[in-house]
Amino acid sequence: MSVNELGTKSQKADAAIDTATSTEQEVKIISGTEKILAGFKGDKSEAIPILQHVQQAFGYLPRLSMERIAQFVKVPECTLFGVATFYAQFKLTPTGKNLVRVCRGTACHVKGGSSILKEVEKRLGIKPGQNTPDMEYALETVACIGACALAPTMTINNEVHGEMTAKKVAEFLPDKMEEKHEKP
């Protein structure tokens, strides 16, 4: 990956240390993680599926969780972090509740996908890789959803929306910028 991305990734790792602050939260994370680990054997090859389950459960990979998983699959923590930061699916900081993914695949690009992304960015007030301040929405781009005949496409929580237009974006996403200005 590029140097710029390396920088962002290590920032992500630092932020992960600060996530679990209260004891209640810690208990939730630990018990949730144990529940997931109960379904596995403890083999190194299970690292990625375990991370996927934890990502699914918490919306990100909490530091406490990572420590426990590293123990369980018997790899050094740094190796596990190396795996987590390699794959685009894994997040080390909490993400917004609703995941919006705009496709930047070839067919979508050729049919104007970049204007859909601009419209989504405008509507939510964030750029890809960020969350809205109220943590309701997270925005990502994805290389290809696989619905190329319906280009340009985007997904919201894995639900595919095809033949998008800038106007249709308004039907699916609230105007976060408007809400921001409305706040007292």
Binding site: M1, S2, E5, L6, D43, K44, S45, E46, A47, I48, P49, L51, Q52, V73, V75, G82, V83, F86, Y87, A88, Q89, F90, C103, R104, G105, T106, A107, C108, H109, V110, K111, G112, K118, V142, A143, C144, I145, G146, A147, C148, A149, L150, A151, T153, N158, E159, V160, H161, G162
Partner: protein, 1016 residues
């Protein structure tokens, strides 16, 4: 034609609703539920509602097919279910409004057996997709499922299986195209006991979704193929590595594996033999590089997906160090077919070294977008035009990108080529995963290269510095180029860097990342150079260079959005000034320009382009102050001679006199000035008084025009003290048809005829006129003939209306005036027949081959000749430049003067040339642009700065434009004089916009010039 699901429910009517990812996103689940409810309520006993996987035609979704007739319903909404139940299922009358409509003819087609998109395909890999329920193993078994596996396990040895697959000629469909049989053999010979068989279902190529459809629509075929492969190589454990972005495919794979285990096709003692196997599904986690086999295996092992060096190859040391084989979904899906039907049968399909079928994902600028499975060796033009239905909106084909980010582009010259591994490799591309993205004239090839590089740059694992940094460097250079910051040498630098990146990278990602760049430079270098040298994007795409595509595309960069705003603001005079800031011919352009601006208008992507030319004409018609501006520059003491008073010559003269202060004399051989504006364009398009006024405006800038003077040599001009000469003599000699009888009286070349009419000579054409040709000149000749009294005018053209180069509006107006068109005909001889001329024409048909212009080449139909009698025959098939050899400038073989494209200088110092004389027949606006360039160039040569910028207006603060909700207006057509009366005279055909029409049309403008400039 039998459907595979016929065996499942032989007598019933089945309604199969697609539940692939595409259709599900358009609510096909609700469609199915509504149909189930409707059928139950109506008590229809013999009707079964079920769901299938992806049909591969997602753009038409949601799709519902009614068997056994194969009725193909498209865009089905849940609300349509009631009508389908009542009208079709109960009443036996299919619902026509839901039929598929042919994108070219608009004809509704009931059954998929008759839909061209499907008819021309040979679906082997996709044989069951759209026909069976992918979550019911019995559907698969009824469609010959698991027969091949039984045959293999009970009657064949692993070696026999490998030999059969080798014989079939199957090559890896993941992209590399290595012989599948041989790949298996290399693993089979390795010692066991532990080996792994892996299916690569990571399909990361953007634009490819055939693996997804196969897994969603027919997961068992992949599993059966995988088990057979495992048997062949000696593995007892398998993995399917599927990318996480395909949740539905993963779900269906899990279900299928479980069902296969329940039926004994997986697990211990399969089919009662000693062979055992279990399959795991591993989800990818969002890394394109994991499609590379060593990275994929690392990912299965739980490590970072970084490729490792080969050797050792997976066959010797793969997953956890054990011998492993990795095959793509499509390769494995082909295996049951090969073993059921035999290797010889499979090898009979395809070509030379590329056997069998493969699946292409045909997307982009194409009418029928979807999955296309055809034999290898099919011609590209058949895939794009026959199956794909061609390019929508009448746009021109530009290129097709094959093989995703690892592949290259194929321009129009490859349309007649066969699509196979070898041909594409030679062309600098690959078949790859099968992605085929069609690009048209509105796509920029530099932008495409940048797009692909931004993708591979992001997905680079970072291990190899050439890939990690090299792709970043290349992306930076491409970004600069698309932002108008390209430097000389950038293009060659990209090629040099491409070599380094390809050679220095360990895996396929880095090795092929430069391919899109190399390929686009190879076939579209000129487009790159325009970006670098002229900051011009011909497709008007690159946002860093283009704000308003209309202004950008206009050869003279007239500020269209500003003058449109002037109309909306009610300031017509300002509008005229804005136009005059770039061109000295506002009326001519407003009346007759070929409007390249409209072809790129962004509104045209929504519905129809803005009528930019008509609005320009409206401004001229309604401006009160049409009078010229006073001369400004001080005399320079230099003299310039311009030869030819057409748009190129007069434009150059205007700027040289007014801004350069030079003493300019324009020499015109004909008795009247104006060039083709006078003698080529008829008066009903451009009235004489308007043209005179435009020419007077130019004369008022200090230009002397001498008519009736033909210049014989450059020397005579030099002798008169001219410091520079501009040759703008145009292209005035009509091309010959080269048929017998062309010299007969009554055969009058079109250019000559139009010139004679324009100069006031008496021209008689008789009653029956034939015009040969399909361009604007042919339309001019035909419509002029009507106005000269011809009762029957026929235009003979060798192709069809779609291929005519003439402006669509000219053709339309000609037809309104009663002019007949004989398409697909070409004269072969002309003979005298009494007092008439008899033309013998051959009949043509559009052949299959595509020529360099991207159109199908017409082919003569033998024995279909016909004859017709006329009084006059007017060939209008083209023009050539015919400059006397006494003028000693270099010229090409076709007579066009050779001039430097950046400065317009000829081989003689101080002598310049531009316009039709250099390019061959083109348009007024391009000649004007040439005149501007000549003026800059000559002024610099004469010691000036070459600055021809004119400012007549002060820039206004632009108000952000707020689009109104609703009320989307169609393009306002310009009113025309009544067709019956207008053919009796040469008065102007166009009546011009009224204020209301003009203002409505202006309100349609999207104000692209106000868009935020984004440099990314």
């Amino acid at each position: 034609m039998k459907s595979p699901s016929d065996n499942v429910f032989p007598k019933q009517v089945k309604v199969l609703v697609c539940q692939g990812t595409g259709c599900t996103s358009s609510k096909s689940e609700q469609v199915r539920e509504a149909l189930e409810a409707g059928v139950k309520a109506a008590g229809l006993k013999d009707v079964v509602i079920d769901f299938t996987g992806c049909h591969g035609f997602c753009q038409q979704g949601p799709i519902a097919v009614v068997e056994p007739d194969g009725i193909f319903y498209t865009h089905v909404k849940p609300e349509d279910a009631a009508e389908i139940v009542t009208s079709h299922l109960a009443g036996g009358k299919p619902v026509e409004r839901l039929f598929y409509k042919d994108p070219v003819t608009g004809e509704p087609i009931a059954s998929y057996h008759k839909i061209k998109f499907y008819m021309k395909q040979q679906r082997l890999i996709l044989r069951n997709c759209g026909h069976i329920n992918p979550e019911k193993i019995d559907d698969y078994i009824a469609a010959d499922g698991y027969k091949a596996l039984q045959k293999v396990l009970t009657t064949m040895t692993p070696k026999q299986v490998i030999d059969e697959v080798k014989k079939s000629g199957l090559r890896g469909r993941g992209g590399a195209g290595f012989s599948t049989g041989m790949k298996w053999e290399l693993c089979a010979i390795e010692p066991g006991p532990k080996k792994y068989m892996i299916c690569n279902a990571d399909e990361g190529d953007p634009g490819a979704f055939m693996d997804r459809s196969t897994m969603e629509g027919d997961p068992h075929t992949v599993i059966e193929g995988l088990i057979i492969a495992a048997y062949a190589i000696g593995a007892d454990e398998g993995y399917i590595y599927c990318r996480a972005e395909y949740p539905l495919a993963i779900k269906r794979l899990y279900i299928a594996i479980q069902q296969a285990e329940e039926r004994g096709y997986l697990g211990e003692k399969i089919c009662g033999t000693n062979f055992s196997m279990k399959i795991h599904v591993k989800e990818g986690a969002g890394a394109f590089v994991c499609g590379e086999e060593t990275a994929l295996m690392a990912s299965i092992e739980g490590r970072r997906g970084m490729p490792s060096p080969r050797p050792p190859f997976p066959a010797q040391s793969g997953l956890w160090g054990k011998p492993s084989t990795i095959n793509n979904v499509k390769s494995l899906a082909s295996i049951p077919v090969i073993l059921n039907k035999g290797a010889d049968w499979y090898a009979s399909i395809g070509t030379g070294k590329s056997k069998g079928t493969t699946v292409f994902a045909l997307t982009g600028k194409i009418a029928n977008s979807g999955l296309v499975e055809v034999p290898l060796g099919t011609k590209l033009r058949d895939i794009i035009f026959e199956i794909g239905g061609g390019i929508p909106k009448g746009k021109k084909f530009k290129a097709v990108q094959t093989g995703g980010p690892s592949g290259g582009c194929l321009p129009a010259s490859f349309l007649n080529s066969s699509v196979d591994y070898e041909t594409l490799a030679q062309a600098g591309s690959i078949i790859g995963s099968g992605g085929m993205v069609v690009l048209d004239e509105d796509n920029c090839m530099v932008d495409m290269a940048k797009y692909f590089l931004s993708f591979t740059q992001l997905e680079s694992c970072g291990k190899c510095i050439q890939c990690r940094w090299g792709t970043k460097q290349m992306l930076d250079v491409l970004t600069d180029i698309t932002n108008g910051k390209g430097r000389p040498g950038d293009i060659d630098f990209l090629l040099e860097l491409s070599k380094a990146v390809a050679v220095g990278s360990r895996c396929g990602l880095g090795q092929t990342a430069p391919t899109p760049v190399i390929s686009t430079i190879r076939y579209f270098r000129d487009e790159y150079e325009q970006h670098v040298k002229k900051h011009h994007c011909p497709a008007a795409v690159c946002k860093g260079i283009v704000t308003a595509p209309c202004t950008h595309t206009c050869p003279a960069n007239v500020d269209v959005p500003r003058y449109i705003r002037a109309i909306s603001d009610g300031d017509i005079e300002k509008g005229l000034d804005i136009i005059r800031e770039r061109i000295p011919f506002p009326a001519v352009c407003g009346y007759v320009c070929v409007h390249p601006c409209e072809s790129r208008c962004r509104r045209g992507q929504l519905d129809q382009a803005i009528a930019i030319r008509a609005l320009k004409g409206y401004i001229y018609d309604n401006a009160k102050n049409k009078s010229p501006k006073p001369k400004t520059a001080l005399p320079s003491g230099k003299k310039v001679a311009v030869v030819g008073s057409g748009p190129a010559g007069l434009t150059a003269a205007y700027y040289l006199a007014k801004l350069g202060g030079h003493a300019v004399t324009v020499y015109e051989a004909l008795p009247q000035a104006g060039g083709m504006m006078r003698v080529g364009i008829p008066r009903y398009r451009l009235p004489a008084d308007v043209l005179d006024a435009e020419i007077n405006y130019i004369k008022a800038a200090g230009v002397t025009v001498m008519t009736g003077v033909k210049i014989a040599t450059i020397e005579e001009l030099k002798a008169q003290g001219y410091d520079a000469v501009f040759l703008a003599v145009g292209s005035h000699n009509g091309s010959k048809m080269r048929v017998p009888g062309e010299e007969l009286p009554g055969v009058v070349d079109g250019v000559t005829m139009l010139r004679d009419v324009a100069l006031g000579k008496k021209v008689t054409v008789g009653s029956r006129v034939a015009v040969v040709g399909g361009g604007n000149s042919a339309m001019d000749a035909a419509r002029t003939s009507r106005r000269l009294g011809a009762k029957e005018v026929t235009v003979i053209y060798r192709r069809t209306q779609n291929e005519m180069p003439a402006n669509a509006e000219e053709v339309q107006e000609a037809m309104e005036e009663g002019i007949k068109f004989e398409f697909l005909a070409n004269p072969s001889r002309i003979d005298k027949n009494g007092s008439s001329l008899r033309i013998t024409c051959v009949r043509m048909r559009l052949g299959d081959e595509i020529d360099e212009s991207g159109r199908r080449r017409p082919v003569i139909m033998e024995g279909a000749d016909f004859e017709k009698d006329f009084d006059t025959v007017i060939p209008a098939i083209g023009q050539v430049t015919d400059l006397s050899p006494a003028i000693t400038v270099d010229r090409a073989k076709n007579g066009n003067i050779t001039a430097n494209p950046d400065t317009l200088v000829t081989n003689i110092t101080g002598v310049y040339a531009g316009g039709d004389a250099v390019t061959g027949p083109d348009s007024v606006i391009r000649a004007i642009a040439a005149g501007r360039l000549a003026a800059e160039s000559i002024d610099k040569y004469l010691g000036g700065k070459g600055n021809i910028e004119e400012k007549f207006t002060t820039p206004e603060k632009a108000e952000p434009y707020v689009a109104e909700e609703g009320g989307v207006e169609k393009r306002q057509e310009i009113p025309l004089a009544n067709a019956a009366t207008r053919v009796k005279n040469f008065n102007r055909t166009e009546l011009g916009y009224t204020k209301a029409l003009a203002e409505t049309e202006c309100s349609r403008c999207l104000r692209c010039d106000l868009e935020e400039r984004d440099e990314d």
